[in-house]
Symmetry: C2
Subunit: 690 residues, 2 copies
């Protein structure tokens, strides 16, 4: 009958926890925002209180106040550096795929030929630059892709995919240990350039958000204020996500809005300002590294000479609607394919899948000049006015093919299909660039169509006043830009951040109305076919708990219906303030699976006192016994009490009651709702208060 | 003993309320966000439910779904049109002040001389343009200013001031009837140009936010979805505020961020997107009206040829710190002056005050070329590279005075002081332009100083590498821009929205880092001298209830301490579910001043059932009696019950109990906290849930 707490202690030892861990969370659990916030306030108050004690304490308080800025500065620096390095390595790998610089293998083609005296004036190469004797360069892409998949599989399984769905889940208050760790950071930073260089239909923009979040997580651990408080840590992670988008597109404002609109859950105004600082620092560092070789912060810098006209809003809306359609179709197809992969044997051969997809991509994309070149370079070409482009010894004169309908249409078809199968393979896969690529092709096609229409029927009332005869008043490049925004909007269902990112990406304020129109129609049409974006879809697919604070719920049930145990479930349990024994509690922990238990005065008058977390209860029981050196002796029928004073010991008499209150583990401020509260209000409280 | 409900009915008649008014609010009361939200959900569900009934209902449902977009579209159109008209009228008034076009009084100087053949090549005037024979043009400014003050005093007292503090208070859930009405809109639209034209140190940007909010309020009333629900109405108002900033500065993104950061309280993601749409529509309309005569959406369009260098961050930070200092000083001085005005006899002579301030401004500003011209034109000049400027027959060759330290310093001193006395007089007074003006002068001064420093000491290690000898590598115009951002930030304590507005205002993405640095230092230095911006200060001064959801509270008390009646207060009261009579309730209403009462089962077991608003109780009591035709007969000792079924009538016997539950007035879903909840969590719940 002297059953000890050993069972409980085992549980504790298994999870490597000690008494200090009270208030931490298990893996794959959600955090309690309110509790974290009040813990932070307590800590803050302690610092303020101790400030007067000594100079050292004052300094410590100052450090604490500054650490918020310091950590986002560090994250911004790290994210900018990572992005710069990744850009440079990607460029180098893209060239190494095709050849090497004799004697100086670390130089890419441009740098190699820069110092050479034998450079051909057309810029197609030099004698120092040795092109591999390969067919199509397919062998190297296969090596890159399988290397990336192997690294991911061996060292950091979390490094695959885009990472945005998981970052979103983590920011909403879920714990996934190791997802933002240093191994993930390292492997993802190495494999992202490999994946991009292997010419797969993917981008490094989504992974950059994940990488920046890893930086945020790592630096947050340097400061106890952030590392030890899950809610505060998420402030840093929000800022890091903003920095990720900022470096991915050179769009600091868009990054902050992306973080606010798409990924973040808890976003006080203070965080907004720090996120902006973080995003700007990162963008500034990236600009200083200057990986694109031009001093523009933006990726696709365009300046059109011609304004747009009001009648063009019709084709822009059409592009938007098509983008929304594509987005809906893509989401459905990709989710179906991912589900199939998950449930079939295909999921067991990730490397083989990568190799096959790479091979198909390489073989199918070579014949077409639009798919042969890098996707982001293709977009940059499409949004420009026509002109020649040079990459990798191939002087791809897109200018000659500007009107080449068939090539563009083929590229559209191929890109649209292969991306469905690519997003989700076990290498870092970003979705921004492929989506934008598809949209840019589509937009360009429609733009050329409208141009021809206007040219052939100059007397139509719609454009007669705007376009003077003989002048071409339609800019197909603008249509490509609008198309890119439309498909990206259709796939991710972003709105404001999308428009701002596109606006920063192109640097043109006067084209914000067309972008807005396309984004609106894209969102409307997309939402008509299903309300969730690709990230929400993947969150649902992976079964992460995510309470969307943007959706409106239409539950008609009352709280009392939901909080009733379902048939076959365990009954709801409570802890009484006095009168329960250690054995009772242990039994409670062992037989139920609830995350916590309400503490009430007694079963007769059900006055609520507080709330006790399961994990804290386990730790406290174990720790309590360890501290009292009574591990063996504490009898299972010791009374446990949560009141401030021990109850009169006349009840049991045999054993000293165990004062669990000492540990401050009972949350004395639970919020309660009455049983008639409609479920929608409960959901609102959950989502607003965390 | 047959005391009737006449006293209560009187209360009702006085406030023009009837039984349908249950769920509305009194003037100067705060709204219950959660209740409004659930009312909206109920309405939404009813529409969904009825949708299947008939085609008309389907159409109605569709209209309801679209009305959200329709209303922001209308608000955007109206705000854009208002802004365009105000801009045009301002321009015309500014010219009429000095002269008139013979025969065509509605033309301003430029238009008048456009058609003239006698125009002088220098553009200084034409024979058709008759200049008034006045000294300094002071007479007309006095007429304008006193006319504006008179109109405000007679027709719409709410039209004075900037309006932003009040809009902020209203958005946080406070009711100020008539503040956003059509009279305010009309009078403010007329008086804002008059005030600007009278050369006072004020801008029309703040009033534009108020005017746009009025448009939002008026259009919201056209749609029952928004007009009848205070929470939903605030969504439209948020969008309208964004549109206001958008048209004031031609900065749609900045407007949305301003609305999000500065004025709004409740801002779901759906609102963000609609606000953006609204802001963009307004900006687009304004661009189509084209009041500035150039096709740029932006006010101070600048393109600098020279980049900025890293060492310049030091003066930028200095400018930021000075801006923060100025902001703190301005806030203190202005609040002190407003308090003095409020408490002294000065407050009784608003028109005299306006006239005096106008006279002093006009007399003091004439000798200095910087203060003589329009403030926004002065800023536009200061942020540019040096060049000639022409306005109102005065060819103000600022280019010659580009280095004129003394004039600039005098202008700085004068502007800085007069603005303190101007902001708060009884005409529409915006604060953006004067603050930016002060900052632009300060920045320009420092910029010229740095330029001289670099020029005279070209060998200093700091800038030796960046600046080649003989070249001027410092752009004083950029310093002026940074200075404008710094003072604006110091006064309003905006952060992200400030940087984005400045960035959109100037159209230069590469100067975002200097702007950010200045805004950060300005905020830090300003916050060191007092945490509140000018708007929060005025909210506090006017005694509006405003729970800032951005601040962190550091209460250490528990809920139980706060909810205890203070010494001398009435005791806390509750309503029992059964057993209270009409007389008891009437007595309760008459003797207490609480806004509502908790409803409990009985005094013995204090189980909470719901919450009853005072106003609803009064209405229900009155309505109940009116409905039963028992106004005279309902005896004061009738039992009142809130349960679903009438209690057994064996208790009183004499009178039928009154079923108050019928009206659905008891809010059955109150949220409760335990008495040990720390006050900070209570505050957090209050601010998050509204």
């Amino acid at each position: 009958t002297t059953g000890t707490g050993t069972h409980l202690l085992e549980t504790i030892n298994n999870s490597d926890a000690n008494i200090d861990d009270i208030g931490t969370y298990d893996d794959f659990h959600t955090i309690d925002w309110l509790r974290e916030m009040s813990r932070n306030r307590l800590r803050h108050r302690q610092i303020l209180y101790r400030k007067k004690e000594s100079f050292f304490r004052t300094l410590k308080g100052l450090h604490d106040a500054w650490s918020g800025w310091l950590v986002v500065l560090l994250v911004g620096l790290a994210a900018g550096t990572c992005a710069g390095l990744i850009d440079i390595v990607t460029k180098w790998l893209t060239d190494v795929k095709l050849g090497t610089c004799s004697g100086k293998f670390w130089l890419n083609q441009e740098s190699c030929c820069w110092n050479s005296h034998t450079a051909e004036p057309s810029g197609t190469g030099c004698s120092e630059w040795k092109t591999w004797a390969t067919i199509f360069g397919v062998e190297n892409t296969l090596i890159f892709a399988s290397l990336a998949a192997l690294l991911v599989k061996m060292f950091a399984p979390y490094a695959c995919g885009s990472g945005i769905p998981e970052v979103k889940t983590i920011l909403s208050g879920f714990i996934i240990r190791g997802y933002l760790g240093k191994w993930t950071l390292l492997i993802k930073s190495i494999t992202a350039p490999l994946a991009v260089a292997s010419n797969l239909s993917l981008g490094k923009e989504g992974p950059l958000v994940h990488i920046a979040s890893c930086c945020g997580n790592i630096f947050a651990h340097l400061f106890p204020k952030y590392g030890k408080n899950e809610a505060k840590k998420r402030e840093v992670l929000s800022a890091a996500a903003a920095a990720g988008v900022s470096v991915a597109f050179g769009a600091p404002v868009g990054g902050v809005l992306f973080s606010l609109e798409e990924v973040s859950y808890y976003f006080p105004m203070k965080t907004l300002w720090r996120s902006f600082f973080c995003a700007l620092t990162a963008a500034f560092i990236l600009r200083s590294i200057n990986p694109f070789g031009n001093s523009h912060l933006v990726m696709f810098y365009v300046t059109y000479n011609k304004p747009w006209f009001l009648f063009e809003l019709v084709p822009f809306a059409l592009i938007g609607a098509l983008g929304g359609l594509y987005g809906a179709a893509f989401i459905h197809a990709n989710l179906a394919w991912c589900k199939f992969r998950k449930n079939s044997k295909l999921g067991n051969y990730p490397i083989l899948e990568v190799v096959v997809v790479t091979f198909i991509t390489a073989a199918a994309s070579y014949p077409n000049p639009y798919t042969r070149i890098d996707a982001s370079m293709m977009i940059a070409e499409l949004v420009k006015e026509c002109g020649p482009v040079m990459q990798n010894n191939l002087l791809v004169k897109i200018s000659q093919r500007c009107q080449s309908f068939s090539n563009l249409a083929l590229a559209l078809l191929f890109k649209g299909i292969i991306t469905v199968f690519t997003f989700g393979i076990k290498v870092p896969t970003g979705l921004f660039i492929p989506s934008m690529g598809v949209g840019a092709i589509m937009g360009r096609l429609i733009g050329v169509g409208v141009e021809q229409l206007v040219y052939n029927y100059p007397d139509c009332a719609l454009w007669k006043t705007s376009c003077h005869a003989g002048h071409s008043c339609v800019t197909p490049g603008l249509y490509a830009m609008v198309g890119a925004a439309a498909t990206l909007g259709g796939v991710t269902r972003m709105t404001v951040s999308l428009v701002v990112i596109m606006f920063e990406l192109t640097g043109g304020l006067q084209y914000i109305v067309p972008l807005m129109a396309a984004a609106m129609f894209s969102k409307w049409v997309g939402d008509a076919f299903g309300n969730e974006g690709i990230y929400d879809g993947h969150i649902r697919l992976n079964g992460y708990p995510f309470l969307d604070n943007k959706e409106e719920f239409t539950h008609t049930t009352l709280a009392t219906d939901v909080m009733r145990p379902r048939r076959g479930d365990q009954p709801l349990t409570v802890i009484e303030q006095e009168g329960m024994t250690v054995g009772d509690l242990e039994h409670l922990v062992r037989t139920t699976k609830y995350n916590g238990f309400p503490v009430i005065t007694s079963h007769e008058s059900q006055q609520l006192i507080g709330y006790l977390y399961r994990r804290d209860l386990i730790l406290a029981l174990g720790g309590q016994m360890a501290r009292l050196n009574v591990i063996v002796e504490t009898p299972i029928n010791s009374l446990v009490y949560f009141t401030l004073h021990a109850p009169t010991p006349s009840l049991g008499g045999a054993n000293d009651p165990v004062p669990l209150r000492l540990f401050n583990i009972v949350d004395l401020s639970p919020i309660t709702v009455t049983d008639h509260t409609p479920m929608e209000i409960v959901v609102e409280i959950f989502s607003k208060l965390g």
